[in-house]
C-alpha cells in the first residue's frame, strides 16, 4: 500500500514537472497556428491557420534571411570549433606539458566572464574593423564563446579512451596526426557528436552578442524574435511561429542523435 502511494506520488510529481516544462512549449506551438484574435485565448477550440508562417517569411519580417544567417553562423562555428577543440582537447589529455593544468583552467575561465561585460569591447573592436553587422563577426564571437566549452567537453571523452590503441597504432606505423584521425576520433565519435550538438545549440540560441553586433544584414533568429515586439504591441502569433522555426531544427537534430547523445554523456561521465 505504502509502495503504491509512493509510486503514485512519484508519478504525480513527474507529471507536474512535465506540465511546467512543456506548457510554454505547447503554448508556443498552439499559438503559432492561431489567428491574432485567438492569440491570448487559452481555449483549444480555435481555427488553425498557416498564415503566421507565411507572414513571418514576407515583408517586413523576412525571417528567411534570419534563418539563413542562423544556419550559416551556427554551421560554420561548429565546423571550425569542433575540429580545433578536438585537437586542443587531445593535447590537453595526452601531453604532459608544464603549466598544462593552468592553461586548461585559463581556457575554462573565459566561461566565467559575464557576456554583458565583454559585449561592449567586442562592439568597439568590430566597429573599428568595420565588421559590425556581418556574419563573420558573429562567427568569431561564437567561436570565442563555444570553443573553450567544447575543448572541456571533448577532453572528458578523450580522457576516457585508453592509450593502448593509440600506442599500438604508433607502433603499427602511424604518425601522431594519423593516430588522431584513424584511432582517437572514431573512438571519441559519440563524444564529438554530443559536443557538436551542444556547440550548435549554444550558437543557434545565442542572443546578446547577435543583438548588439547585428543590425540588418546579419540578424539571427533569436534577435529576429524581438522585432515582433512592435508599436502595435507584442505579435504573439508571429513570435510563436518564428519560435517554432527556431525550435524545430534543434528538436529534430536532438531526436536524430539521441542515441549518440546519451552514449556520449555516459562515456564522458565515467572518468
Amino acid at each position: 500500500m505504502r509502495k503504491t502511494l509512493s509510486y503514485l506520488a512519484e508519478r504525480a510529481l513527474l507529471v507536474l514537472i512535465s506540465i511546467v516544462v512543456l506548457f510554454p512549449i505547447a503554448w508556443m506551438f498552439l499559438t503559432a497556428f492561431k489567428q491574432p484574435r485567438d492569440a491570448y485565448s487559452l481555449s483549444l477550440n480555435f481555427e488553425p491557420t498557416l498564415q503566421n508562417f507565411v507572414t513571418v517569411f514576407s515583408d517586413p519580417w523576412n525571417l528567411g534571411s534570419m534563418v539563413m544567417n542562423s544556419v550559416i553562423v551556427a554551421t560554420v562555428t561548429v565546423a571550425i570549433a569542433v575540429p580545433c577543440a578536438a585537437l586542443a582537447a587531445y593535447s590537453f589529455s595526452r601531453f604532459r606539458v608544464k603549466g598544462r593544468k593552468f592553461l586548461f583552467f585559463l581556457i575554462l575561465s573565459t566561461q566565467f566572464i559575464p557576456a554583458v561585460v565583454i559585449v561592449l569591447p567586442f562592439f568597439l573592436m568590430f566597429r573599428q574593423l568595420d565588421m559590425l553587422d556581418t556574419r563573420f563577426a558573429l562567427i568569431i564571437v561564437n567561436l570565442a564563446i563555444v570553443t573553450p566549452f567544447v575543448i572541456w567537453m571533448i577532453k572528458g571523452f578523450i580522457d576516457a579512451i585508453p592509450t593502448d590503441s593509440e600506442e599500438a597504432a604508433m607502433i603499427d606505423g602511424a604518425s601522431r596526426l594519423r593516430v588522431i584521425k584513424d584511432i582517437v576520433m572514431p573512438m571519441a565519435a559519440p563524444g564529438i557528436m554530443t559536443s557538436s550538438i551542444f556547440c550548435f545549440i549554444l550558437t543557434w540560441n545565442e542572443f546578446l552578442f547577435a543583438l548588439i553586433l547585428s543590425r540588418r544584414d546579419a540578424v539571427t533568429l533569436p534577435v529576429g524574435l524581438v522585432s515582433f515586439r512592435t508599436e502595435r504591441g507584442d505579435l504573439w502569433e508571429l513570435m510563436s511561429a518564428a519560435g517554432v522555426m527556431i525550435t524545430v531544427p534543434i528538436f529534430i537534430m536532438a531526436l536524430f542523435i539521441q542515441k549518440h547523445f546519451t552514449r556520449g554523456m555516459t562515456a564522458g561521465a565515467v572518468k
Binding site: 600506442e167 607502433i171 603499427d172 606505423g173
Partner: protein, 350 residues
C-alpha cells in the same frame, strides 16, 4: 631479425629513478623475458625499446643502429599490449590489415597477407567481426596477428596473457612458444608470472627496483638464484627460506639442523626447494616440526610443517596422508642443492 642492445640506459621521472643505469644485449632470434614484481621497471624498459618512453640517458641500438630519436613507427618493431590495444571501431580484418595499410602495401597483397596470418592464429572465420564480439582469447589472437602480419625485426610483448583465464593462458603460452620457433623473431616479453618466464624464455632477466639482478637461462636461474630476492621469486611453490645461523659447519634454526660447507656466520638464510626434500619418519632428520597443512595438487601433495616461526614446505607423494599437528620430519634428498644467503644483504653465500 635483429640484435637489440641497451647501453647504459637510464629512465627518470622528475627526481624518481625508475630504471637505473644498466646495459643489456638481446641476441638475434632470442626470446628474452623481463621478469619481476609490479613496479620493478620491466614495462618501462620495454616501452623505451618501443619508443613509447624517452630515455633519460644511454643508447638503444637495433641491428647496430642507434635508434634513440626514431619514432616508434620507424623502429621496425611490433608490440602486443596487456590490454590488447585493438581498434574497437575496426573489424578483425581491418585491425590486422592496418599496419600493412600504413606501409602502403597494395590492397591485393594485403588481402592475401591478412588471410595467411589469420589462418596462422586460427582467426580466419572471424575476420568480419569487431573486437567487442570476440572472447578474451580471440582478442589476444587478433593482437598477435596484427603484430606478426608484417614480420617485424623485433616483437615486444607486455604481459600479453595476464588478462586470460588460467586454462587459456597455458594454451596461448604454447602457441607463443610455437610461433617464436616458427618465425624466429627476436622477442622481448614482460611478465610478473615466473611460470611464463620459465616456460617461454631462452634467457630471463629478473628485475628488482629497476635493476636487472640476474640474467641467465631459466634453468640456471632456478638452480642458482643470484640472491635472496631471485630465490624467493622463482619457483612455485617458492623456495623454502629459513632464517638461522651457521656454527661449526651446521646451519641451525628452530627445528632445523643442516650440515653446510660455510664458516661461522650469523644472519644466514637457508634456501631449499620443496621438491628437494623427502618426508621421513626419522626423528633425527634435518628438519622437524608439526604438520601444519596438506595440499593435494593432483600429481603431488604439498606438505607444510611448522616449528616456531619457520614454515617449511615439501613436495610429497600424491597419496601421502597424515594428521594435522602430528610430528613431521623432512630431510634434503641426496644431492639436493642447499642455498645460503646473507640475510642483511641478500647476497648468495653458497
Amino acid at each position: 631479425m635483429a640484435e637489440v642492445r641497451l647501453v647504459d640506459i637510464e629512465k627518470k621521472y622528475g627526481n624518481f629513478l625508475a630504471v637505473p643505469k644498466q646495459s643489456l644485449t638481446i641476441h638475434d632470434g632470442e626470446f628474452l623475458v623481463l621478469l619481476g614484481p609490479s613496479g620493478c621497471g620491466k614495462t618501462t624498459t620495454m616501452r623505451m625499446i618501443a619508443g613509447l618512453e624517452d630515455i633519460t640517458s644511454g643508447d638503444i641500438m637495433i641491428k647496430g643502429e642507434r635508434i634513440n630519436d626514431k619514432p616508434p613507427k620507424d623502429r621496425d618493431i611490433a608490440m602486443v599490449f596487456q590490454n590488447y590495444g585493438l581498434y574497437p571501431h575496426m573489424t578483425v580484418r581491418q585491425n590486422i590489415e592496418y599496419p600493412l595499410k600504413l606501409r602502403g602495401m597494395p590492397k591485393a597483397d594485403r588481402k592475401d597477407r591478412v588471410r595467411e596470418t589469420a589462418e596462422k592464429v586460427e582467426l580466419d572465420a572471424l575476420l568480419e567481426r569487431r573486437p567487442s564480439e570476440l572472447s578474451g582469447g580471440q582478442r589476444q589472437r587478433v593482437a598477435l596477428a596484427r603484430a606478426i602480419v608484417r614480420t617485424p625485426s623485433i616483437f615486444l610483448m607486455d604481459e600479453p596473457l595476464s588478462n586470460l583465464d588460467a586454462k587459456l593462458r597455458v594454451t596461448m603460452r604454447a602457441e607463443l612458444k610455437h610461433l617464436h620457433h616458427e618465425l624466429g623473431v627476436t622477442t622481448v616479453y614482460v611478465t610478473h608470472d615466473q611460470m611464463e618466464a620459465m616456460t617461454l624464455a631462452n634467457r630471463v632477466a629478473v628485475m628488482r627496483e629497476g635493476k636487472i639482478v640476474q640474467l641467465d637461462t631459466p634453468k640456471k636461474i632456478y638452480a642458482e638464484p643470484a640472491d635472496l630476492f631471485v630465490a624467493g621469486f622463482i619457483g612455485s611453490p617458492s623456495m623454502n627460506l629459513i632464517d638461522g645461523a651457521v656454527k661449526d659447519g651446521v646451519f641451525r634454526a628452530d627445528g632445523v639442523e643442516v650440515p653446510v660447507d660455510l664458516a661461522d656466520h650469523d644472519g644466514v638464510v637457508l634456501g631449499i626447494r620443496p621438491e628437494e626434500l623427502d618426508i621421513t619418519q626419522d626423528p633425527g632428520a634435518a628438519i622437524s616440526g608439526k604438520l601444519y597443512a596438506l595440499e593435494l595438487t593432483g600429481e603431488s601433495t604439498l606438505v607444510t610443517l611448522r616449528n616456531g616461526p619457520s614454515s617449511v614446505c615439501a613436495r610429497g607423494h600424491a597419496d601421502f596422508e597424515a594428521d594435522i599437528d602430528s610430528p613431521c620430519h623432512l630431510a634434503p634428498k641426496e644431492g639436493a642443492r642447499i642455498h645460503l644467503f646473507d640475510r642483511a644483504t641478500g647476497e648468495r653465500l653458497l
